[in-house]
């Protein structure tokens, strides 16, 4: 059997496997791909997760197919040790491989960049953790709901500057309205991870980390700290609610009244949150 | 002891080559260390968190810095002269200028130590610039100690082929130290 037959066979096996795998992924896995469709950013991430799965699975299967084909077909006969043919390389094949892998990589990078900067589901692109201050590249238009997320060991506090700076321990958001998170910390580095919303932004002391999302369904979502922040890091989680617009207005009005005595003493909205973190302890 | 190198004959030339390769590689690696401080300087200066990059009165003394820089350059120049004399007139001509270089190097080390331990401001209220300065000068102080040790071992050795091999990297190291200090002096005292 010459080399060409071997390659043809392996390619056929690979193509069949790749089609089957992509069909399975497309119809069985893709509808359930995390993180789901709770918000527009989550939808974008789900979408790119699916695209990557559809591209990468055939690549992986190709490599595995050729390896397994070689391992099964080209065995040393029992009882003897023979040398194989002294093949040292094939210029065309190597150049072709370099070309194909580079193309795939460039395509992946372009897809990722488009998704990052101008995702189909959101005006702002799907990258959370938008950096300090407003980013020139991905900033949504309109008047988003601002929420300052203040992380400390081992709790998140949420602050609504547009509602008199009221501070709450629970996060509530109105459905369908773009939210602009300003994430910061007063002690160690934390990370604000609202899993279902597809938002993750590190909370770094002295930094204002901006992230956008628009919740698209009402319901509960989980908030966890995703950066090791000390003793009770594993216990730094809570729940947030996405409410209807009316429900949110009611909730925030109630919170404003309930917290009025405390709000009075709080500083104005600021990037750096006082009191200053202690150098030690805490 | 012939224990490490099989014979003296083989190794003089090879050892010289090894030392010069290693010297250059070490400088490359070490440059990355100071690059870390250069990055810290530029990064913290650009961020200027809470306007505390350079709070008032927390500056290292420029006069002291200039003196140390001059001493390091003088030391490197003396080693340069010593190395040139050795190439021209043999190992015996190495010692006198190298010893002068060592004296300048020792003085620079003592003054750099003063800069580190008596910076003229409290590091705990120093802000960004003061912090980078303390970190830099701590490392630089250690580098000077290493350089003084290296130069001293060259001087006290019996003039031999080994000496010939290890002088060029030592010279390279001293010029490298001078260049590093010159760059950071500009950053700390001028801009």
């Amino acid at each position: 059997m010459d080399s060409r037959t071997d390659i043809t066979r392996a390619v056929i096996v690979w193509v069949v496997l790749a089609i089957v795998a992509d069909l399975l992924i497309g119809f069985l896995l893709a509808p359930h791909m995390p993180p789901g469709h709770f918000s527009n950013t989550a939808s974008d991430q789900t979408e790119i997760n699916n695209i990557l799965a559809l591209i990468l699975t055939p690549i992986g299967l190709g490599v595995v197919t050729f390896f397994v084909y070689a391992l099964v077909s080209f065995r040393q006969p029992a009882g003897a040790i023979e040398d194989g043919p002294p093949l040292r390389g094939d210029r065309r094949l190597q150049l072709g491989w370099v070309g194909v892998t580079t193309t795939v990589v460039i395509v992946l990078a372009i897809v990722g960049t488009i998704e990052l900067l101008q995702a189909p589901n959101s005006q702002a692109g799907s990258g959370a953790g938008g950096g300090q201050g407003a980013s020139a590249i991905s900033h949504p238009s309109g008047n988003p709901l601002q929420v300052q997320v203040i992380a400390q060991q081992w709790q998140f506090t949420y602050r609504y500057p547009q509602y008199g700076g009221v501070e709450t321990f629970s996060l509530a958001l109105p459905v369908g309205r773009t939210v602009e998170f300003h994430v910061t910390s007063i002690d160690a580095i934390h990370s604000f991870w609202a899993y279902q919303l597809g938002v993750k932004a590190d909370a770094v002391p002295g930094a204002d980390n901006v992230a956008f999302t628009t919740p698209e369904h009402m319901g509960l979502f989980e908030v966890r700290c995703a950066e090791l922040c000390g003793l009770w890091h594993g216990y730094m989680y809570s729940r947030g609610h996405v409410l209807s617009s009316a429900g949110f207005s009611k909730w925030i009005a109630h919170a404003q009244i309930a917290n009025a005595p405390a709000t009075h003493y709080l500083p104005k909205y600021a990037h750096v949150y006082y009191p200053l973190p202690l150098q030690r302890g805490g | 002891m012939t224990d490490i190198t099989p014979t003296a004959a083989d190794t003089a030339e090879l050892e010289a080559r090894n030392q010069s390769t290693a010297g250059r590689l070490f400088v490359a690696a070490d440059a990355f260390l100071f690059l870390g401080f250069l990055f810290a300087y530029l990064y913290l200066r650009a961020l200027n968190n809470n306007d505390l990059w350079n709070p008032h009165g927390q500056n290292p003394s420029g006069t002291m810095g200039a003196v140390v820089l001059v001493l390091v350059v003088v030391a490197a120049a003396f080693v340069h002269v010593a190395s040139g004399r050795m190439a021209a007139a043999g190992p015996a001509a190495f010692r006198a200028p190298a010893a002068a270089g060592l004296a300048a190097a020792l003085a620079a080390t003592v003054l750099a130590g003063t800069q580190l331990f008596r910076p003229g401001f409290s590091p705990s209220h120093a802000g960004g610039l003061g912090s980078v300065f303390i970190g830099f000068i701590a490392f630089y102080f250690l580098h000077l100690i290493g350089g003084v040790y290296w130069l001293e071992t060259q001087i006290v050795q019996r003039p031999s082929d080994i000496l010939r091999g290890s002088v060029p990297p030592c010279l390279l190291y001293w010029w490298y130290l001078a260049v590093v200090l010159a760059i950071f002096s500009v950053l700390f005292y001028l801009v």
């Binding site: 071997d6 991430q45 040790i81 953790g129 700290c225 995703a226 003793l231 | 870390g36 990055f39």
Partner: protein, 633 residues
Amino acid sequence: MSHTETPAPATPAAGRSGILTFNLLWGLVGLVVGYAIGLWIGHRMGSRFDWVAETDYNDVAILIGYALGTLGYLFGLGILNHPIARMFGRSGGDIAKSSTGWSRYARASTDHKVIGNQYLIGIGIFFFIGGLNAMLIRTELLHPNSPTFSPGQYLTIVGLHGAMMIMMVSSIILGPFGHFFVPLMIGSRRMAFPRLEALSFWLLPLAGVVLMSTIAYGGFPTGWTGYPTLGSQADSGMDGYLVAFALVGIGMILNALNMLVTVFNHRAPGMTWARLPIFVWSMLTTSVLMLLGPPMLLAAVVMEMLDRTSGTAFFSSSSGGSPFLWENLFWFFGHPEVYILALPGFGIVLEILPVFARKPLWGQRLAIAGMLGVTLLSFMVWQHHLFVSGINSSLRPFYMFTTELISVPTGFIFLCGIGTLWRAKIRYTVPMLFALAFFFNFLIGGLSGVYLSDVPSDVSLHGSFFVMAHFHYTIMGGLVFAFFAGIYYWLPKMAGVELNERLGKIHFWTTFVFFNSTFLPLFAVGMLGMPRRVATYAPHLQFLNDWVSISAFLLGASMLVFLANFVWSLLVARIPAAANPWMARSLEWQLPTPVPVWDFDGPVRILAGPYEYGNPAAPPVMELGPPIVAAGD
């Protein structure tokens, strides 16, 4: 390359022996004494500083203790004798090259073969300690919310596991195999700087001791990444972490320096760059990373030490510093570090494949280009660790691109693997099985890396168990599998005894199956929202976590199979190994087993490349000149 006209000495100078000479025991005594003195000095000094008086901790004392302890340890080992002698113009105080008996492993030696074996034992011990920590972590995660350990204990375990594996085990291939075989493979009798070689090894166990001493101070809470501000507020265990990382970093730099100079200057005549074995190429590229990455780490570590001791503000944003400074400096080292772990693996598997495929290495130049490409690119990708950290978002497309680009040179290695196996005559020995499994594991690790390089995907996956599964696939599935391939392949030469093949195959299959069974589900766990380094998780993830934990215990048990094999073969059975059991062509196998003290009897001349399988016209790989006798013999 004129050094080969080298007479071998008649016999190595009889090393001083006995317990009263410089050895590990006195090194440890020196460590304790130096530490005590340093602590005393530090307390005297520290009491004058208000920032020490304000806190309960005197980090000044602890750091000075560690520093003087290091000096005492090196002095006790005899490594400082020569530098001190040089100060007085003498050249004495050399470390003995080699002595016989087991005690040579507890003493500084300048024999690259002894050092290789010392690395094997030393790193092996730390690897098993790190592995035990992993078992404890998985024990904690058996249940979503009823902890086995207190939170402090758990963080200590997590930190020690990470630090142990990343710091101590990072040289698991360059240490044992690099030091033992690189000189042999290039036809040299030694490394370029044997004393430096001894120093760089002995720094490693010291770093391990320092790292474990953090337990006495309550551990360090930051994991192996040591992020500030947590690192600045942590207890004194953090000082040990910093010192250990600094020691490892210094050891890496010295190691790399030595390795690079050796390969540049000590190649035998005829060992052209084209004939250089691929394993040596991998050591070369790894050394470039080890030379240029760790200095950044050292800078960062010293900044953190200064923040902790003298109150500087490198990482404190409220005083003019920034935690991002650490993140940048650390990952500028940290990302090359993960390729420090990956490249030696590439080298070993591509070295082993031609031997058991009986074919030349297919596309050798492409493989070399791949390694060089990885080396270059790995310095340009570090900010992908900071995608969600809040740095300037405009940088992200660039780092996404460079990160994805790195899969191109990595792909070369896979093409060379397939090309070598194609139409080959494959023998399924234990080292070959591990090498093949390397490709499978690294493939999954690499493909999952694409998700993490893609910013929108990474937003969800960053800091989750997905990341953890990804780098365990590349490091455990890559590096550690390659290490086992190397140990089954080369131990017959290193220790002179055969390993039991049946136990080896049991070890392989259990490791391979339980490795995948442990880490594959963790991709799903991460995607479903479980962050790293937590002691609690959502109850609906319990089934997956329990599956993973049980698989991990079985994976741990499979390591015991290896340990049993190792101990049995080395201490009990002791079946002498043939000089060239695999019928390999490369240089190290042409030497007798055990390898003579001076490696090559005569001057070496290289006649052919190491992978000329299937080429009947190829000359033997080397010829030896007439044995050289020392003058006095």
